[in-house]
């Protein structure tokens, strides 16, 4: 009698020391997911929390998450940015329910017992601390040695650069700049070069797949010209676009840099069968592309900052895409479309129109949510199996072309190093 299960192995199994064949079990199982949260979201990594422009005034706050922990990004009276955990020091309640608001005058109050916190997360006072007077006698109250200073909210480390805010629960974390590394930092600073940002709007979606699949999606230049027929039909993506793939030294972050051919809808494209020269947009303004000086050449740079965020520049559409896991098989994906304070009204309209390509129902991005869901279904039904990521070889390294899955292999090289340690 053979007790060994062939379909549901007990342990994740890699076929080699390499990462070109990724076990389906990298995407399944609650225990491993919690280990990922510990090692990637709660230690040693800066996680995206938002843009400074979302909280311009003292008291402004935004509720968001680091990994699966609810946090609040809030601007204090001095203009500083604080990130505190949304868990009351008293009974552990997630006291803040609004996504955005202002608490300049009152601080944060937990509705359960009205414990009250400053905008920096310090406990101000607690009801009936000195008891309740009744018939000349004082009843109850906190013990004499109760100190409010010992019961503030958990405060996260905060780093802001170019108007983008990151936070970490890890008190010993390296600087944000070291975390990104010089190559990725260069592309980060290209997009966030000191101009003030303006918020154009949000998209939110829940994708029933593992959170890493979203990182992989933006580390995968194999699929856009094949899955996204919209891109190809209207000439925005071609596998022979001039392009580069670059990573940080750990291979956890990446940038896909591409430069659109001057020809636009080039007639000579033959390698992609879905290209349809005859299709026309009813409203061509979706592709009213206006080169901007700060691009410095590339027309699209898609950055993956591991583990929490994707930074998008696709021609005139710029956005952050926040990955918010909930369990191993699902994540919320929150898109913040922004612009720059010195944009003309016309440029703002252009960015908004081009944003139609992205988000949960975007002409292009709707495809990604669906393939991620269906990938997860495949993994769950056949956990002993593995994916293949061998386009461009089995090694990991920067390239000057797009015909490779090297960035995915790179991310799993890092993943294995951190998870198997």
């Amino acid at each position: 009698m053979d007790n060994a299960s062939t379909v549901f192995p007990h342990k994740i199994h890699w076929e080699s020391d390499g990462t070109s064949r990724i076990p389906f079990m990298a995407y399944t199982g609650a225990d491993q997911h919690r280990k990922e949260l510990e090692r990637f979201f709660y230690r040693k990594h800066w996680c995206y929390v938002g843009l400074e422009a979302e909280i311009p005034n003292p008291g402004d706050f935004k509720r968001t998450v680091v990994g699966e922990r609810s946090v609040i990004m809030v601007r204090d009276a001095d203009g500083g940015i604080n990130v505190v955990e949304n868990v009351c020091a008293h009974r552990g309640m997630q006291f803040c329910r609004e996504r955005h608001g202002n608490r300049k005058d009152s601080g944060f109050t937990c509705p359960y017992h009205q414990w009250n916190y400053s905008l920096q997360g310090d406990l101000q006072g607690v009801p009936f601390r000195r008891g309740v007077r009744q018939d000349g006698k004082v009843n109850g109250g906190m013990p004499a040695d109760f100190k409010t200073a010992e019961h503030g909210l958990t405060r996260l480390r905060v780093a802001a650069r170019g108007g983008v805010v990151f936070a970490s629960f890890d008190p010993d974390i390296e600087s944000l700049e070291d975390f990104m590394g010089p190559t990725i930092l260069g592309y980060f600073d290209r997009l966030f070069n000191g101009r003030k940002l303006t918020i154009l709007g949000y998209n939110r979606q829940r994708i029933p797949g593992n959170w890493k699949l979203m990182q992989e999606n933006i580390k995968d230049p194999y699929h856009p010209g094949l899955l996204h027929t919209w891109f190809v039909t209207f000439g925005l993506w071609r596998a022979d676009n001039k392009s580069e793939l670059k990573m940080d030294a750990h291979h956890r972050h990446a940038a896909m840099i591409s430069t659109r051919g001057a020809s636009g809808k080039a007639g000579q494209v033959t390698q992609v069968s879905s290209f349809k020269e005859s299709m026309q947009l009813n409203d061509p303004r979706f592709l009213d592309i206006m080169p901007e000086p700060w691009w410095g050449g590339p027309t699209a740079v898609m950055m993956t900052l591991f583990p929490s965020v994707i930074l998008q520049q696709q021609v005139n559409s710029v956005s952050t895409r926040h990955i918010q896991p909930n369990g191993n098989g699902s994540f919320d994906f929150v898109w913040t479309h922004f612009g720059f304070e010195d944009d003309t009204g016309e440029m703002t309209q252009r960015r908004l129109r081009q944003a139609n390509l992205f988000g949960p129902a975007g002409f292009v991005s709707a495809d990604d949510g669906e393939v991620i869901e269906l990938s997860q279904k495949g993994f769950e039904q056949k956990p002993y199996h593995r994916t293949l990521a061998e386009l461009g070889g089995r090694e990991v390294g920067d390239t000057d072309h797009m015909v490779t899955e090297t960035l995915i292999r790179g991310m799993y090289e890092y993943w294995r190093r951190e998870m198997e340690d």
Partner: protein
């Protein structure tokens, strides 16, 4: 009698020494204090957490809110410590014939 409109609020001996009571005068929630024989009156609702100050603790001329321990000077209504930042209103007082009168306007 001066030009102030004085409203009868309470008997003097309703307010225990070094203590505070809550009363309604002219439709307003008022905290009436007896600090060592001197009487003071302020709005009764804290400007921070909207609790009733008459349920707090009077120490000298400071009333401590029972909810979050913010403090006000009962003589002026001025906020004295976090989390309170906004003053409460204080009212002129007049004692006559064993009664406490307030000028509400």
């Amino acid at each position: 009698m001066d030009k102030q409109q004085w409203t009868d609020a309470s008997a003097v001996d309703e307010v225990p020494e070094d203590d505070v009571i809550g009363i309604v005068v002219g439709g307003r929630d008022i905290a009436l204090y007896n600090a060592g024989g001197e009487f003071y009156a302020t709005d009764n609702i804290c400007t921070h957490g909207h609790a009733r100050l008459c349920e707090g603790f009077l120490e000298g001329h400071e009333i401590e809110c029972p909810l979050h321990q913010g403090r006000f000077d009962i003589r002026t209504g001025a906020p004295l410590c976090a989390p309170v930042t906004e003053a409460i209103r204080s009212y002129p007082i007049r004692i006559e014939g064993g009664r406490v009168f307030l000028a509400l306007d």
